[in-house]
């Protein structure tokens, strides 16, 4: 059964590809139909979860390895199954919800395909036992969330938000890759199960800080930690089912998951215990504070999500058994209430056409059961009994008191953030649902959506879980032991309960609720001031800053490209010739001068005359303004070279040279009268410059020739040809034997080139390109 898991994960890809076809048949029921997949995953995980021993983990080897040491091996332990449960469980409800919510949208098949892919990537990420596979799935979630956030791709805002989220999370993904590779380099394996007992090796390594930095960047970008938090509110441009899924239990929790996953072999160091709590606390507080200044229901939820992620990172950073327990419980708590609240926000949006909490009001009666679910979820968010949120918050307070560094500050920030959370919960609930609030103008209500079963199913179930698990926390507590064992390598009994007697934590809770109620009473002032603070903060509006950075980056890059790739062919050549010449000349001089021991041979006088004639002809050719004269002068050079070949005894060369030279002359003369007369385009200055460059290049080549005459690095392989030409190939003309026998394949290539050139010429001459009229 377990062995099938890698195949099942891969098969999600196929299912995803088939959804557009399904959608043609099933229309809006596609979502409901697809929910069978996460449901079966959910039931399977539930079974594994309850049957897994306290210190037991199941590892399924990969089907095949993508790279050496990197394949999709699956790991089933408390942590992966807990996350798997949340991903698949909320997945079911989101699919239900989406099938109603997306009903009027175009491209639903595509939407469900993306959602299926995303779910598969997310499940793969939490289940894998291999860091390379984890990285791949991590990036896949970034890609699919990009497509999902930008699903309304006709809206510029959505496209921008999607791109921003993607650039940030993909940057984090690259950091993750570096971190993973470094870990693999040090530990020699990418398998998590093998890494578990190599913590000492990695954390004591000199490159540990680098690994830590990379992993933390990955976590902070994915989990929207300060200062990378700004992409998350933008992601609210996504259709609400996407927000409900991405920001409750999946995408943004990937960072938290990674922290918990690598904790056994990366954690428990000074860096870990100080950096994570610090940034976690900042994020926790900023998120909660900024949420108060927002008016859009979804944006409020987005900021509280940031705050919740901050709490989880903080808890993972405190890194005690208690804090890990708190993090795990809070992950469940947050997933349940945030999923429910997002879905409710979407439902309200559909029902009333607005998400502005000032315009909404008195929705308690019209929304019926959903209002009750909202109440429970807000209670859980505020951390009030008897919800699971209360237990989570108690655990968090207990854990924060244990923090190794500046626990007092963390505690104070924690209490403030939780007060804000309580205040926001009350505030939003009061604004939106409270039946006795006076509203200027009642919003119109579309009863069709308000009573939609599919839309209200998800939030109600999630709220019921929040309540049920709060009342009977033993149900979940028992099974967290396994997860904690693999994170902290400690066997602990986890007993969760609502009532632990009067202790410091309870007193803190009471203070928090009191503070929250105070905030609620002064909500108008608080909201106003925070909004003002927000406005002030918007001067440094991070998404804009980010945009500007990206834009300038592109601008600089294109300017630089324009400078280097200017499109003037002669400047490319000048660069090339000058640099090459200088390099070669310098190198030649560095190697004992130009020609150390010149042993000049005397030159025959007729040869000297030949050279002088050719030199004059060449000079004449380049400066002549008559085309025919230039060609004829170059002909003299060509024939002269043929004579030189002849002088040195290369008969075949001389014959070929004469033939080819003649042919080229003929072709040139045929074509030349169809071509324009030599026009002088360049100025005198540039001609002088070109002469200098030409002389530099020529001088360089001359030196190379001089120098090369004194080099004979290896015995020439020509001896082989000379000795064997007659014996093996039965030919007396060695050059011909080489061409048609020893190196026959090269000659074959040469003939092919010629044939191609001929074909090209014919094609060109027949080609009929119309000249544009408007030139």
């Amino acid at each position: 059964m377990h062995q099938l898991l890698p195949y099942l994960l891969t098969s999600l890809l196929v299912v995803g590809l088939a959804t557009p076809l399904l959608e043609k048949k099933l229309k809006y029921r596609t979502g409901v139909f697809l929910s069978v997949i996460p449901l079966s995953f959910f039931l399977y995980f539930l079974w594994v979860f309850t049957s897994l021993g306290k210190t037991e983990s199941l590892i399924i080897p990969p089907i095949m390895e993508l790279v050496r040491g990197g394949g999709l091996s699956v790991r089933l332990d408390g942590l992966s199954v807990l996350f798997g449960l949340m991903v698949s469980g909320i997945g079911v409800l989101v699919l239900f919800y989406a099938s109603a919510y997306m009903r009027k949208y175009p491209r639903q098949g595509y939407f469900f395909m993306l959602l299926t892919f995303f779910m598969g990537a997310m499940l793969g990420m939490v289940l894998t036992n291999n860091l390379i596979a984890l990285f791949i799935f991590w990036e896949l979630t970034s890609v699919f969330s990009f497509l999902l956030i930008g699903f309304d791709n006709h809206l510029e805002k959505a496209r921008k938000a999607a791109l921003q989220g993607f650039l940030i999370t993909a940057f984090g993904g690259l950091c993750l890759l570096f971190g993973v590779l470094l870990i693999g380099d040090i530990a020699g394996t990418y398998e998590i199960s093998e890494l578990l007992n190599k913590g000492e090796l990695i954390t004591s390594h000199t490159r540990y800080p680098l690994i830590f930095l990379f992993l933390v960047l990955a976590v902070f970008t994915k989990s929207a930690q300060f200062p990378f938090h700004f992409w998350l509110p933008g992601a609210m441009n996504a259709p609400t089912p996407v927000s409900a899924y991405l920001h409750s239990a999946t995408m943004v929790n990937a960072g938290v998951f990674l922290l918990l996953r690598v904790n056994p072999f990366i954690g428990d160091t000074l860096l870990w215990d100080s950096v994570l709590p610090l940034f976690g606390s900042i994020t926790m507080f900023t998120g909660a504070l900024l949420a108060f200044g927002e008016k859009d229901l979804k944006r409020i939820l987005a900021f509280t999500t940031i705050s919740a992620l901050g709490i989880m990172v903080l808890l993972a950073g405190i890194d005690t058994t208690k804090s890990i327990k708190a993090a795990l419980v809070f992950f469940v708590v947050h997933g349940l209430y945030k999923g429910a609240l997002f879905m409710i926000a979407g439902l309200i949006d559909k029902t009333t056409g607005t998400r502005d909490i000032d315009r909404l009001g008195q929705l308690w009666k019209p929304l019926g059961l959903v209002s009750f679910a909202a109440l429970l979820s807000f209670f859980s968010m505020a951390g009030l009994p008897p919800m699971l949120g209360f237990i989570g918050k108690e655990l968090i307070y207990g854990a924060k008191m244990q923090a190794a560094y500046f626990s007092n500050i963390i505690l104070v920030f924690g209490i403030l953030s939780n007060m804000l959370m309580v205040g926001i919960s009350f505030y939003v609930f009061y604004q939106v649902f409270w039946p006795y609030r006076r509203v200027k103008k009642k919003v119109a209500i579309d009863g069709h959506y308000a009573r939609s079963f599919l839309l209200s199913f998800g939030p109600v179930i999630l709220a019921a879980f929040s309540l049920g698990l709060g009342l009977a926390p033993v149900r979940i507590g028992k099974y967290l032991q396994n997860a904690i064992y693999f994170i902290r390598a400690e066997e602990v009994a986890v007993d969760l309960g609502l009532w632990h007697g009067v202790n410091a934590v309870l007193i803190l809770s009471i203070i928090t609720v009191g503070g929250g109620i105070l905030l609620f009473i002064f909500r108008k002032q608080v909201a106003f001031n925070v909004a003002r603070f927000n406005n002030w903060l918007n001067k440094f509006y991070l998404p804009d800053v980010f945009d500007k950075v990206i834009k300038n980056y592109v601008k600089v890059a294109s300017r630089q490209t324009d400078r280097i790739q200017h499109g003037y062919h002669r400047y490319y050549l000048i660069t090339f010739f000058v640099i090459t010449s200088l390099l070669v000349v310098v190198h030649l001089f560095a190697n004992s001068g130009i020609a150390p021991e010149l042993q000049l041979q005397p030159i025959k006088s007729y040869l000297l005359i030949l050279f002088i004639v050719m030199a004059f002809a060449a000079g004449y050719a380049i400066f002549s303004s008559s085309r025919i004269a230039a060609i004829l002068a170059l002909g003299i050079v060509g024939y002269g070279i043929g004579l030189v070949y002849l002088f040195f005894g290369a008969v075949d060369l001389a014959i070929t040279q004469f033939l080819v030279e003649t042919l080229v002359m003929v072709i040139f003369v045929l074509v030349i009268y169809k071509l324009p007369v030599f026009a002088v385009f360049s100025s005198k200055a540039s001609r002088v410059r070109d002469i200098f460059i030409a002389l530099l290049a020529g001088g360089m080549m001359g030196m190379v020739v001089l120098k090369s005459n004194f080099f004979n690095v290896e015995t020439p392989i020509s001896d082989y040809f000379i000795n064997n030409s007659l014996n093996l190939a039965h030919g007396k003309n060695i050059v011909n034997v080489i061409l048609v026998d020893f190196r026959a394949l090269d000659t074959m290539g040469e003939i092919t080139v010629l044939a191609l050139a001929a074909a090209g010429v014919v094609a060109l001459l027949r080609l009929n390109i119309k000249k544009r009229e408007n030139e």
Binding site: Y568, R570, Q601, I603, F611, A618, I622, A630, L634, V637, G638, V644, G649, A650, V651, D652, L653, T656, V660, L663, V664, I667, F668, V671, K674, L675, P676, F678, A679, F681, I691, I693, A694, G698, M700, G702, V705, L706, S708, N709, P716, S718, I722, S725, N733, I734, V735, I738, E750, L754, L756, A757, A758, G760, V761, L764, I769, K771, R772, E775
Partner: protein
Amino acid sequence: MELVLAIFIGLLYACGVYLLLRRSIVKLILGVFVLSNATNLVIFLAGGITRSGISILQDEVVVDKSNITDPLPQALILTAIVIGLGIAAYTLALKYKYYKVTGTDDLDRLKNTDQR
């Protein structure tokens, strides 16, 4: 002898480079041709600039190697010369067509793929 050869080859290269740097495409093509001639000569002389007999064997069994010009560079250059012909023919045809379509010989107007 070496000196004269070196200077001559240098001069040929200088001519070729100068022609390559022209804006007129016809001159550029001439430059390519000059450069290919010069390069052939360099390769040929790299085999040694001693004047010796042609590389055709007699019926003797024992070969006197010092009396034979190195055949390998010759074979290479022979290929190169013929390919040079192919290049010259093709570039000329290309130029001919280009001129007919665009009506210009100025390389600076070749910066764009669009017809302007």
